[in-house]
């Protein structure tokens, strides 16, 4: 008969849980303690963290080794990334409010999750973002127009995925988790040491697809990193609807080691992702990161969050701002002078201006183009519809701009 023990697996010497020593094989680990919380809204301290909300560097034996090389210059880089991402997000919000975009899903508050988890990727890695991961695409090298061509309604994807190493932003909640696992299976078959990463939300963790993705990833030891951006809400539903205990606690059950990380701590996010990516590159299979963060803005520009949450709650999270704490850290290192901030500010302004220009300069494709790319090879049905539609459009030949490019309004 077995002992009656909590925990899974049986208790082990503490060091065995350190990320650097996580055994690649069958061992299932949860690297950080999880206390099932009565209220997931208040569990934000139960995370791995390297920088406090006030900007002090904290020690974490698991994470520290993964950011030992991060010097002041790199920290400044992360700061700059986040400021630019926030500015990009704000500009797109503004463009939407001005009627230039149909919709925007703001990421304000989640800059650290996105920058911290995307920076560790190599150019030849591949990521699978959701609608909210514009900050990830910033890191992947997006051109200005590539942030919002789709949100403007000009096309379904803002960019060619192979240009950025980033799949098209997924709107069907959770579907991309399986794509990432399949892509990672492809990497295995090619025998390279690339990795795939995938983003999804706390709400998404309820979808069958996300769970199946973990099962497939574990079954095939796929080199994939699951990044759950727990921003505390699925539109109006607090994370407590989706999970009675921390989401990071699910992965070990599927045989996937996981970490629960302060998602507003860019350094911790970078460390955790490096840990997970290293495991994947070395052939040790999938890992899972729950990034505990907060969506400061509305779900999308269509949403009114005052209907379901208090200003107090939002303010509490403002005090955990991901950018401010890096500022604190940099100040402590005397690396936050006017030169630096002015440079960052100028870059941010330039990015915003470029985005605006790109957006306003967009042209709408001709009507007949809606029949393009339905199939990759010739298709009798589409060919016929093209003839019909062409003949129809020709009937308007004298009408202005029919069948030709329209200038954006």
């Amino acid at each position: 008969m077995t002992d009656v023990l909590f925990g899974y697996p049986a208790k082990e010497p503490a060091h065995a849980g350190r990320p650097t020593k996580v055994h690649p094989g069958k061992r299932v680990t949860m690297v950080h303690t999880l206390t099932p919380a009565a209220d997931l809204g208040t569990d934000v301290e139960d995370v791995a963290r390297l920088v406090s909300a006030t900007g002090e560097r904290m020690r974490d034996a698991d994470l520290d080794p993964w950011v030992a090389d991060v010097d002041t210059a790199q920290l400044q880089g992360l700061y700059r990334d986040m400021v630019l991402v926030r500015r990009m997000d704000a500009e797109c919000m503004a463009l939407q409010r001005q009627g230039q975009l149909g919709l925007w899903a703001p990421l304000n508050g989640q800059e650290a999750v996105q920058v911290g988890s995307a920076r560790p990727l190599r150019e030849d890695d591949f990521t699978f973002p959701t609608y909210r991961e514009a900050g990830v695409n910033y890191v992947r090298g997006a051109e200005p127009a590539q942030y919002m061509r789709a949100w403007r309604g000009e096309a379904h994807s803002s960019y060619n995925p192979y240009d950025l190493g980033s799949a098209i932003q997924q709107i069907i909640i959770g579907a991309q988790a399986l794509h990432a696992v399949g892509y990672a299976m492809g990497i295995q078959r090619d025998g390279t040491d690339q990795v795939a990463t995938v983003y999804f939300g706390d709400g998404a963790s309820s979808q069958g697809d996300v769970n199946e993705a973990m099962i497939f990833a574990a079954s095939f030891d796929a080199p994939v990193v699951f990044i759950c951006s727990n921003n505390h809400y699925a539109i109006s539903e607090p994370v407590g609807v989706a999970a009675k205990s921390p989401i990071a606690g699910r992965a070990p059950g599927f045989g996937i080691p996981s970490m629960r990380v302060d998602g507003n701590d860019v350094l911790a996010m970078m460390a955790a992702t490096r840990w997970a990516i290293a495991r994947a590159r070395q052939g040790h299979g999938p890992s899972f990161i729950e990034a505990v963060t907060y969506r400061m803005g509305p779900h999308t520009t269509s949403d009114d969050p005052t209907r379901y949450r208090t200003q107090d709650e939002v303010e509490a999270w403002r005090r955990r701002d991901p950018i401010a704490r890096v500022e604190g850290l940099l100040r402590a290192q005397d690396a936050f002078d006017d030169d630096f901030t002015a440079g960052v500010q100028a870059d941010a302004d330039a990015l915003a201006a470029d985005i605006r220009t790109a957006c306003l300069g967009m042209t709408t494709a001709p009507a007949i183009s809606i029949l393009d790319n339905v199939y990759a090879e010739p298709h009798a049905g589409i060919d016929e519809e093209r003839r019909w539609f062409g003949a129809y459009l020709d009937g308007f030949a004298d009408a202005p701009a029919a069948g030709t490019q329209e200038q954006a309004s």
Binding site: G153, R307, D394
Partner: protein, 336 residues
Amino acid sequence: MTEMTMGKALNEGLRQAMRDDDHVLVMGEDIGRLGGVFRITDGLLDEFGKLRVVDTPLAESGIVGTAVGLAYRGYRPVVEIQFDGFVYPAFDQIVSQVAKLHYRSQGAVKMPITIRIPWAGGVGAAEHHSESPEAYFVHTAGLRVVAVSNPQDAYTMLRQAIACDDPVIFFEPKKLYHVKGDVQLGTALDDAAPMGLARIARSGTDVTLLTYGSQVATALDAATAAEDEGVSIEVIDLRSLSPVDYRTVTASVRKTGRVVVTHEAAREAGLGAELIASVTERCFNFLESAPVRVTGWDIPYPPAKLEKHHVPDLDRILDAVDRVLDKPNSFTGVEL
């Protein structure tokens, strides 16, 4: 009679149905505190409480699958699918369970589930938010499928769908949520026209124009425009997409001899195909020209800036009317 938007009418219909029968409950994503992303369930949580207005985890198969279990237990769940494009994760539960359990259990297990779907395009939405999946459900035996086109039908047919012992897929055109109309609240359901009947939205003698949902308004506009040219169009709002009220449809076609069908959904194996096939089978000797479809193209729903080229508009409908009247039209000279 009260003037209200379709959204409000649906809200009133739900409220009435919940008051009429305490086994009715609503469930879905964001339908509680938020009142739904379209506010169709606004205020219901306050009136009926958490046990009857259920904010569920984000998983459509889970929502419909648990609704099946509630129906097993005697409840009448009303499920909201947040947008048309998000019904597919629930497809297995709908097709293999909701639609078939009454049959599979030889009538022992009833599935009085209403699945409400904010539906179709024309609202400038992001991808997956403008789908017209009705043909999938029409092709699925065991389901009833309805689509509403005005506030009164929205109010009444929603109550009828909920009261019906069969599962009903209930399509609500997003484009019409804010359009107003007069609604008679609180009438007895028996006094209303049954959910299965089509409605002649406008009488006419030359051409029968079959449609449903937000296309009804476009069809009526086309009929008005055609009148100027001396063409009298009878517009039929199908209301019930499965079963189709072929009695009303064939009576009209036998009168006009000419048929145009319009819908937003793709053409290939869409509901228009069913309508034309059935009309041809039933009215062949009355037809004076080939029935014609004006539909979305056989493409995924296009980006918002281009959707106007996809959703049939007045011009495309009139072009089809010309075609069935053997007048010059865009197909003149095009080989089929």
